[in-house]
Symmetry: C2
Subunit: 320 residues, 2 copies
């Protein structure tokens, strides 16, 4: 069956059956709006903040149909949004999915897309509570809005970096970019772990929650365009600068091996590749997070950025 | 200047400068997520529910560039979303805007789009708190997510219609459909008021808020696809039927005059035309709302729908 036969409401009905609301007092798919009782009934519960982020993925810009499976695309669409909640130190609670799809798209594509989407959403407790489905003349367009919560006033902002902070990242950098480079070179099967990091990134929700409890952790964001350009957002918002030691960038063994083989520069991939969805954060040198992380530099009062161990002015992905 | 020169962050910066957050404790554009302190600090304030809705508009499906000005498109993108909050009896509080735009689009287009978007958003107190901007290979794609609030448990749902309720609508129906019909016939200037209703619809926020206070008002939704098909959602969700008197459909004088002139059927436009963004609600016959409205029929226990005064099985807009 194709979209044309299934129809809009048939499609919503399918999606609705694949999801559920976490509490009977919530209203999910099937009404004009979802209803989320967020504020506590009594004064006893601690006040919380709502976190909201939204991301759009366009066929031909963010993905090519021949390069990514519908399941991977579904996963990735949710993952990149949930990553924004992780970046604030928040807990995801709900997502809203808008899809513009060509009339001729097979239903199976949609089924698999939703399996990927729901797989990661359920893993992180983010219920699909609504959305919009519509017809596209040609290309697929996907928009996800994610909601999350954190204790009142405790969100980790980009603007909170202080001179003297350490600059830290979770995980390893450049794997996703290397995966993309292999795909674009027609070498899809070459390095499965790097490929996975590109297709099905893991948002750092647990790490973000762990860091959110630490008052010494100041600014935080996720790395979507590459640390080379993403760091600038923290610096600009905080009115500070940084000195980064590119020799300290965490590079995975797989990436190192691949780069040796291909003659690629792992530093360049780590700094400007993007789509790692690791967390970039700054913290007081006295702070000791109980998660794996790597210190790559420090925040300076002088609002410039120095990339030691590399001569390039690394830039991330440019959207226009 | 074109998008290409302005760049993604330049664009965000422009939009940011055109907006503001309603309270210093809120975080708007410029971080990974917007932060909305919704739950009360103390137990004194009444608990509220968060309302969220999202809608996607695709060039070539929902609009043609030659038929709608960027200002009108900006207005309409926000209006159709705010209408979903009105449909629950809620108060809009915030919007999130995703835009996929061709590289070659002039900056002026964007400027005017945002003027239209902000014009209506500000009118209804919905602050633009975030979003996403990205490049589209060709067509424009717009996604808006809107948040609103209402008192805990007081949202007017589609599922609340009861046998014996009156079926009511605000305003007049079919104007927007007639406007579209004129545009498609190349008669854009023919009936300015009908044209306005198509290009710059007014979400019925005040009416929705007034109705939300009345316990005798049961089910409610906004009319986006035409009352002929939209009513079915209320009936399906509530497990009831309806008897509608098509002779009671509220038709504006302008529409009546145009239909006489062109030989069009005003009932058909009113029932299946869509995009009126009026409110469709059911209520106890004893209830007396203090807003203008029209009774068009009643809810029946028998779950079928009868259109008296018309032989057609009216259907609204089909998305696939």
């Amino acid at each position: 069956m194709k979209m044309q036969q299934l129809g809009e409401f048939g499609l919503i009905d399918r999606i609705r059956k694949m999801t559920s609301v976490p509490d009977p007092s919530w209203v999910g798919i099937g009404d004009d709006c979802a209803v989320i009782p967020l504020s506590p009934e009594t004064g006893g519960a601690p006040a919380s903040d709502l976190l909201v982020s939204t991301d759009m993925l366009v066929e031909g810009t963010h993905f090519l149909m021949e390069d990514i499976s519908p399941r991977q695309l579904g996963w990735k669409s949710a993952a990149v949004n949930i990553s924004d909640i992780a970046a604030m130190g928040g807990k995801p609670i709900a997502t809203f999915l808008s899809l513009a799809l060509p009339k001729t798209l097979p239903e199976q594509w949609m089924q698999e897309f939703m399996e990927g989407y729901n797989g990661i959403s359920e893993k992180y407790g983010a219920a699909l509570l609504g959305g919009d489905t519509t017809c596209s003349p040609d290309r697929i367009c996907i928009n996800v809005t994610v909601l999350g919560t954190c204790p009142r006033g405790k969100a980790k902002l980009r603007s909170a970096a202080r001179s003297g902070d350490l600059v830290c990242v979770t995980g390893t950098l450049g794997d996703s970019a290397a995966g993309l480079k292999l795909i674009l070179s027609g070498l899809k099967g070459a390095a499965p772990r790097l490929m996975d990091r590109h297709y099905t990134p893991t948002p750092r929700v647990e790490e973000g929650l762990a860091l959110s409890c630490l008052p010494g952790v100041h600014a935080m964001m996720d790395i979507s365009d590459g640390v080379g350009s993403d760091l600038r957002h923290i610096l600009d918002e905080s009115g500070v600068g940084a000195r980064i030691d590119t020799g300290k960038l965490p590079i995975s063994k797989e990436l190192q091996a691949l780069c040796s083989e291909k003659g690629w520069d792992p530093k360049e991939l780590a700094l400007s590749g993007g789509e790692d969805y690791e967390l970039l954060f700054t913290m007081d040198p006295q702070e000791t997070p109980d998660i794996p992380y790597t210190v790559i530099g420090e925040i300076t009062a002088n609002p410039t950025v120095t990339w030691e161990g590399g001569s390039r002015d690394y830039m991330g992905y440019k959207h226009f």
